[in-house]
């Protein structure tokens, strides 16, 4: 418990996030929601290529990545991002449920998955800390 708290505190206080989704209204709302929750949104991208470019330019800590993109799908983009130097933590989002993707999320290089309707800074932080990590850490 103590160790967990220490590790938690060792992280940057506000993770820097890039949002990747081809649906502009979602990007706008997600940004406002995360900012209201105390996170820092440093950039947005509408497709896989844009996501790669944004990660190279901005070096974010977290990429919030939609599974359904017009060029590559989210799993492929996550794979590419994992190969980058200083790879960011990738969290997949979709308007579908985790169930719809079966074991694909677990098999991917992404840290976790959030259904879009459940998105908030709390859920995002919870996923970033990974499975089995104590929740209280997020405060």
């Amino acid at each position: 418990m103590v160790g967990a708290v220490r590790r938690c505190q060792a992280r940057p206080v506000t993770p820097r996030v890039v949002i990747v989704d081809d649906h502009a209204p979602f990007r706008s709302l997600a940004r406002r929601l995360l900012v209201a929750g105390g996170l820092s949104v440093v950039g947005e991208a509408a497709d896989g290529a844009g996501a790669l470019a944004a990660v190279r330019a901005l070096a974010p800590d977290v990429v919030l990545l939609d599974v359904q993109l017009p060029d590559l799908d989210g799993f492929a983009v996550a794979e590419l991002l994992a190969g980058e130097p200083d790879a960011p933590v990738v969290v997949l989002v979709s308007s579908r449920a985790l169930l719809d993707y079966g074991s694909r999320v677990a098999a991917s290089t992404a840290r976790g998955f959030i259904a879009k309707a459940d998105l908030s800074s709390e859920t995002l932080l919870h996923v970033i800390r990974g499975p089995g990590r104590p929740v209280p850490c997020s405060g």
Partner: protein
């Protein structure tokens, strides 16, 4: 080659008989002394050879008027007798006899090179035949004029090797003689090579016709070759004489071998009876009829394709469409029954020379072929039904996939946004101004309205409720109103039809309108619905780019759908000529 008239045949036969008699007369009373022991065998054999060629040639000419072989055999027979002019002990007899003395060999070459058609077919054959003729009369003429060949008047046997006897004088050939003999040997060797090559490359059907003639020919040519080169091979004169006699014996029988080759098909009538018995033995299975026909026609490569008049196409016995086109090494024979085309045989071109056999086989197998054709037609329909069933299932799956995607990309996406907006509003209650909150709630409201619109559109696409409630006319009007391109619906009868009929017509118009907007870039669309004689006819015409892909999934799906009702879909879509989609569906 035209058919040999009966009178011509009689005249030729009489002339042949007379020529034989004249030749015999020349030999006996011509003035030369023929050794008594050689006279009878010479007479018998020579008459047999000449008459054999003329007689058998006339038969061949009559039975196979399409081949020139018969004519060549008759000419050879006459040439055989003509050389007996040399036996007449006069200057004229000598000159004529020497000139025509070896014409029969030239005709023999011609006959061998061109058997069984009797016509020169390529350059190599032309060269051989021409050289063959140049070596006879023209060369002999040169010898007569240039070297002034002399005859020994009234002494010894007739000159020019007319009577086969050991050469009594010592052999002292000049250079010219040797050269001529050399050319003759080369000619005969290439002749052998030609005959062998042709026999080897022939298909089984063709080989049947070639074999007897080729065998005899090889025998004759080899004998002549050995005889000509006897001196060089140091063969004793007695052996040479024996060879010359045997060559003549073969010459007597050879015309019959040629005739056998020409008429083999006609001797094969019994095979047709066997075929009929075999076909009657049970229900035909696809491969059996083909193999029975192939065996009867001696052509293992034979293929059979059935004509389906409705679909205007040939299919194989399994019902799969096949392309039937003339090819260089394949011949086509169309089979008819009661004046209607029912099938086509694709076979070895050699069989084209045996039309009687093919006709007999076709007649014998007619019922079985018609029977099998019906089977093939059923199989072809079954294939078509299986294919369309697969396509219909595929189309249904595709439609469900599209609904899921439309839901996900459309309404679901918007509802997610609404949920997020509400959550954001919830977190900002107390901190944000009421104007900011109101803006956020407006945003959520707009997204919700959009989601509702999309859900309505999607539901209408799945099933147009107006169609069930108000019928085809109002449903099509509504479809036209929502179409981004000006669409006019002209006169839809105000009545109701079976649900399946209305649905199908609706989807034809819906798909055609979508194509006109998406692919054709049309500026105007006209929809017309008419009912005539128990059939509902829906036509959608646009003024767009045309060139629609009829085998594309959209139109293919429509055609399948129309076909399930026993209807028909036709598409006229010339490049840059607009598109007309016409569906006709039974509606009584």
């Amino acid at each position: 080659m035209q058919r040999l008239r009966r009178r011509t045949r009689a005249t030729l036969a009489a002339a042949g008989a007379a020529a034989g008699v004249a030749a015999a007369g020349a030999l006996v009373w011509g003035g030369y002394r023929v050794p008594a022991d050689l006279l009878a065998p010479t007479l018998v054999l020579d008459l047999a050879v000449g008459w054999s060629f003329i007689g058998v040639g006339l038969v061949a000419w009559t039975r196979r008027p399409d081949s020139r072989t018969g004519l060549l055999m008759v000419v050879l027979g006459f040439a055989w007798f003509a050389r007996f002019a040399v036996a007449v002990d006069t200057r004229t007899g000598f000159v004529v006899g020497v000139l025509v003395g070896s014409v029969h060999l030239s005709v023999l070459v011609h006959l061998l090179v061109t058997f069984p058609g009797g016509r020169v077919q390529d350059r190599g054959q032309r060269v051989l035949v021409t050289v063959g003729y140049l070596l006879s009369a023209p060369l002999d003429a040169v010898f007569l004029v240039v070297f002034g060949a002399q005859r020994q008047l009234g002494e010894g046997p007739p000159p020019n090797g007319l009577v086969i006897a050991p050469s009594n004088g010592e052999f002292d050939p000049s250079g010219v003689d040797l050269a001529v003999q050399g050319v003759v040997v080369v000619l005969f060797v290439s002749l052998l090579a030609t005959v062998f090559t042709r026999w080897r490359s022939a298909g089984p059907a063709q080989r049947r016709g070639l074999t007897p003639g080729a065998l005899g020919a090889a025998l004759i040519v080899v004998t002549i070759l050995v005889e000509r080169t006897a001196v060089l091979l140091l063969i004793p004169p007695a052996v040479g004489v024996a060879l010359a006699w045997s060559a003549e014996v073969v010459l007597v029988v050879w015309p019959l071998a040629l005739l056998l080759g020409l008429l083999r098909s006609q001797l094969d009538r019994s095979a047709v009876s066997r075929l009929i018995v075999e076909l009657g033995a049970g229900l035909p299975v696809p491969e059996r009829l083909r193999s029975a026909l192939a065996a009867t026609l001696h052509d293992p490569s034979l293929e059979l394709a059935y004509w389906l008049p409705e679909r205007r196409t040939f299919v194989d016995p399994a019902g799969a469409p096949v392309r039937v086109a003339p090819a260089r090494d394949r011949a086509l024979t169309y089979l008819e029954r009661d004046g209607r085309q029912i099938a086509v045989l694709v076979h070895d071109p050699a069989l084209a020379g045996e039309p009687e056999l093919v006709a007999a086989v076709a007649a014998g197998a007619g019922l079985a072929v018609e029977n099998d054709r019906l089977h093939a037609e059923v199989r072809s329909r079954l294939r078509e039904v299986q294919a369309s069933r697969a396509r219909i299932v595929e189309a249904a799956d595709g439609a469900r996939r599209r609904v899921e995607r439309d839901l996900h990309d459309g309404a679901q996406q918007r509802l997610v946004t609404v949920a997020l907006a509400l959550r954001l509003a919830r977190t900002q209650v107390g901190t944000a101004s009421s104007a900011e909150l109101a803006a956020l709630l407006d945003e959520a409201g707009a997204e919700l309205a959009g989601a509702l619109d999309e859900l309505r559109e999607l539901a209408r696409g799945i099933h147009p409720v107006l169609l069930t409630d108000a019928g085809l006319g109002p449903a099509l009007e509504s479809l036209a109103e929502r179409c981004p391109v000006p669409a006019v619906v002209a006169a839809v009868p105000a009545r109701r039809w079976a649900e399946a009929v209305e649905q199908t017509c609706y989807f034809v118009v819906s798909e055609a309108l979508a194509n006109a907007v998406k692919h054709a870039g049309a500026a105007q669309v006209v929809v017309e619905v008419r009912e005539t004689a128990g059939r509902l006819r829906v036509e959608v015409g646009d003024d767009g780019a045309g060139g629609a892909d009829v085998s594309g999934s959209g139109l293919r799906g429509l055609a399948d759908r129309v076909a399930t009702l026993g209807g028909e879909l036709t598409v006229h879509s010339p490049r840059s000529g607009g598109t007309r989609v016409i569906a006709t569906v039974p509606c009584a």
